[in-house]
Amino acid sequence: MSKTDVSRRGLLKTGALAGSGLALPTIFTAQSAHAYTNEPTGSSVTLGFNVPQTGPYADEGADELRAYQLAIEHLNGGGDGGMLNTFSSKALQGNGILGKEVKYVTGDTQTKSDAARASAKSMIEKDGAVMITGGSSSGVAVAVQALCQEAGVIFMAGLTHSNDTTGKDKRANGFRHFFNSYMSGAALAPVLANAYGKDRKAYHLTADYNWGYTTEEAVRSSTEAMGWETVAAVKTPLTQTDFSSYIAPVLQSGADTLILNHYGGNMVNSLTNAVQFGLRDKQVNGKDFQIVVPLYSRLMAKGAGANVKGIFGSTNWHWSLQDEGSKAFVRSFGTKYGFPPSQAAHTCYVQTLLYADAVQRAGSFAPCAVAEALEGYEFDGLGNGKTLYRAEDHQCFKDVLVVKGKENPTSEFDLLEIVEVTPVEQVTYAPDHPQFSGGALGTCNNGA
């Protein structure tokens, strides 16, 4: 019994030791000694690339990482400079950022919000990253964005398409270059009305989670505004792999258009299933049955193979664009890696450049200074034409591409063709648009 007393006293003692540590700031430097989180003091600055390296989106993550490495190379003055040469801002000199050499660390999001936050935290706490970027899903983007807000670093979102990222879950330290559900709907609707007529009955299959909800809502309201009718909207589980029981009843409902609000593996499977059912060979209400995929990505198109042929969708960017910026980027990416970049690679590359440029213009890595430099900033030459980083919600406004699956692809990367470049005016919305309501940016956080 005396032994326990020893252990209890021992506990108290060690507890007191820990307590005394807190009370001795002369030995311990509290982090508040820095002006902001992870202020780079040496000759280099570290950026954190948080991309899925394991799990179903690993290939997309790998492409994002390639783009980041290319961007770092260009920022440090290596390679052919890529889009630095076409970027409207000439602040960056090719000598790093503010003269500091750019280094990077990587983390694995596993496409899970918990894991993504863990890897982001590790890059912030252990590796001293001053900015976090990347990701290939909205859940991850929103989670990491909130984390960066708390930690006091800048978050430059990668591939995230949900309205919420710059809508109800927006944060002052987070910025998104990628387009969103609303823009997809707004860009697609006129093209669809043009191609398929204004008298259509649509059947939505929607992934049963946040991104699915916002995409369905956006596409629905835009197409209904064009005169389409929505016959039904059915939610499908994230873990679903065989969509036959959802697709089989579509024809019975009298719908003549199927809209697949799915992404990734869900989209590959639902589209494959729908095409397999021969829906596109059918005639309903005297019209050819059609399928629409609001958000396309190249990896998804690759997974769905020949099934994408002739199917409309939207993307943020495509390598076949012929503006100078896109051409420069495709050239340096293609030369380095042997194949053209995906839209995920593009947005990640651009986000890195935009961040570096903002720091350069602000003259500081302090998140609030960077945020201020990005807010309301207008630029060009990065592949999407004239673009605005809107101050109210930190969303980029730029042209949106409506694409369609190519009938005769010449290679495994040549799967989509651009149908229309929807001008930015058509996809712009008011900051308080109902689809983006709730939530507030808050104030920027420099951290401790």
Partner: protein, 343 residues
């Protein structure tokens, strides 16, 4: 009415896939007494047999087409499959087109080999270990197998279409007097259903009518007695494992046109197939098949929008809900024997 017929049809089709996977799982459990968490991985490897064969068939050499350019402005490199050179373009394309059915022939020896190696190399040492250990080691194996596949084939799904001849769907409704287009079902899924029934029937016939099958059934009933009779049951069980692996593999091969295969498809099916086996009753072959079809049909009904409108989210949980209800009301599943897996 038409909607219900359609979902029954659909449920039978889904169920045939579940039944096929659960059948192999039960076969292994029933004969060897091993809970094989790597069974989903066998299904996945089967699917990748189809991918591999189609890759082999499309092995190419590059020809430079000077008239076209690639995305960087260089002359376009065109891949020409060797089968084009050997059989001519038309015949070559036909062979590539039929890669999935051809993969059946390719997969059978591969899967039997995989199964036998797995049994001799690993499972054999776990007959006497607790079920928990078996679950854990095969779970580890499943992780390893899927990571190996991912290393070689990437994380993205790989499209593996059915032959062009099976494109489109059959109009059941029109055949039985409904309006056209009300009850349609894809040809390939009908083929899958028939294929599954064939395999299930084949396995049952094999166990019922061959001497080998009789010994195995006796072994499933009472392993020790058969051992006492001096029959080399272990060797037969190895073969049985190979057969179970082949069944899982073939299920995978034929599944590729339905869903593009990816490295985690085995894990996706794993939980579900265990639910099927447990609902059917551990160790009962007819139970596994029955439960497969039952869950397939119920899942189809639960995904009807009329049902979801009444009970939101039911499509998310139906499988688990059924599993819980059955296990609580029928402790040994639908057709399970007493005393199996209760320690």
């Amino acid at each position: 009415m038409d909607a219900i017929i359609l979902q029954i049809l659909n449920g039978l089709d889904k169920g045939s896939a579940y039944a096929l996977i659960a059948l192999g799982l039960t076969l292994i459990f029933g004969t060897l007494g091993v809970v094989n968490f790597a069974h989903g991985a066998l299904f996945m490897i089967g699917a990748f047999c189809a991918v591999t064969l189609s890759r082999i068939l499309t092995l190419s050499h590059t020809v430079i087409d000077e008239t076209k350019t690639d995305f960087l402005g260089n002359p376009l490199k065109v891949d020409v499959p060797y089968v084009h050179d050997i059989f001519g373009i038309a015949a070559g394309n036909a062979i590539i087109d039929w890669a999935v059915p051809l993969a059946i022939l390719f997969a059978i020896p591969v899967m039997i080999l995989v199964g036998v190696v797995m049994e001799r190399g690993l499972i054999k040492h776990f007959y006497k270990r607790p079920h928990a250990d078996q679950i854990l080691v095969t779970f580890g194996l499943a992780i390893v197998l899927q990571e190996v596949i991912k290393y070689f084939y990437g994380a993205n799904p790989i499209p593996t279409p059915a032959p062009a001849a099976f494109k489109g769907s059959f109009d059941f409704g029109a055949a039985i007097g409904f309006d056209p287009n009300l009850i349609i079902y894809p040809y390939w899924r009908i083929i899958y259903f028939l294929f599954a029934t064939l395999i299930i029937g084949g396995v049952f016939a094999f166990l019922q009518f061959t001497t080998f099958g009789m010994v195995v059934r006796a072994g499933m009933a009472d392993r020790e007695t058969v051992g006492l009779l001096g029959i080399n049951i272990d060797k037969r069980f190895t073969i049985m494992f190979g057969i179970a692996a082949a069944v899982a593999g073939l299920a995978g091969v034929m599944y590729t046109p339905i869903n593009s295969p990816n490295y985690h498809m085995g894990m996706d099916f794993l939980v579900l197939s265990f639910v099927v086996v447990v609902v059917g009753g551990m160790g009962s072959l007819p139970g596994a098949v029955l439960a497969g079809f039952l869950l397939g049909v119920l899942e189809s009904f639960a995904s009807m929008r009329e049902v979801i409108d009444i009970i939101p989210g039911i499509n998310q949980i139906i499988i688990y809900l059924v599993a819980i209800i059955i296990l609580l009301t029928r402790p040994r599943g639908l057709m399970g024997r007493k005393g199996v897996m209760e320690d």
